[in-house]
Amino acid sequence: MRLSISAFGAGLLFGIGLWLSGMANPRKVLDFLDVTGAWDASLLLVMGGAVAVTFFAFPPLLKIKSLKFPKEIDWRLVLGAAIFGLGWGLGGYCPGPALTALANLSAEAFVFVGAMVAGGLFAKIAGIPGPGR
């Protein structure tokens, strides 16, 4: 129960960060990816701000947590990331912003999230291993 309350709080803070940074707006995400258009560099600062925290805080923490991470850079990683990027650039949503953007109450967010779950289901049917963490 305590762990669930903690996870709720972390999700809430994560979501507030997404809204404050403008990432719950798919247009703003696409404006970052639109390097040949009217480029908006904001996403770079979002990622920079987030990684500034994790880059220094994660390594000492991970030493005391027993988490295992895959290291191999294989075709699955590269192809998967490539397919994800295509969908991200087409829709302007990645999983976190899509979930918190449900509050926009726009049909596109609900359709996107439903299709995203279906895509995960296809992956499961195709025998891609499930989450380890």
Partner: protein, 142 residues
């Protein structure tokens, strides 16, 4: 440059980093949203409770925020078919590649993982290609 919001975006990014730090420090979990959602909905494991709580927090944040600020209106001319195709690609791709912008980006780069750095470079690149094709070649309003 168009609608650049450096301060709000940097501050929001720091909050996202702190949220990932919180989940790792207290729950011992990686804040990778695609993996958390997959382990909740598609491939349920015995530890669904914290996943459900994290997703609930993420969704609740949106409703809390839109109590005080206006939500983002849907994009005119952006068809639901495109939204569905985009969602399928994101759902499948994040499973094949084991992560998204949060798992590989926020957390993976924080772990100084070369594997995650490769993933981030690849999805940024194909994301830019997809936008070039959809916005500039196909002229889909998005």
């Amino acid at each position: 440059m168009n609608n650049f919001t450096p301060l709000a975006s940097l501050a929001g990014g720091v909050l996202i980093g702190l949220a990932a730090l919180w989940l790792l420090a207290v729950n011992g979990r990686i804040a990778g949203v695609s993996t958390i959602l997959h382990g909740l909905v598609v491939q349920p494991s015995e530890d669904r409770a914290w996943r459900a709580a994290f997703v609930a927090g993420l969704v609740a944040a949106g409703f809390a925020w839109t109590l005080f600020a206006s939500p983002n209106p849907p994009r005119e001319g952006f068809s639901l078919g495109w939204a569905a195709l985009a969602g399928l690609l994101v759902g499948y791709g994040t499973r094949l590649g084991s992560g998204c912008t949060s798992g590989h980006g926020v957390c993976g780069l924080g772990r100084r993982s070369l594997r995650s750095l490769v993933a981030v470079c690849v999805f940024m690149a194909t994301g830019m290609i997809a936008v070039f094709i959809s916005r500039h070649l196909l002229e889909i309003p998005s």
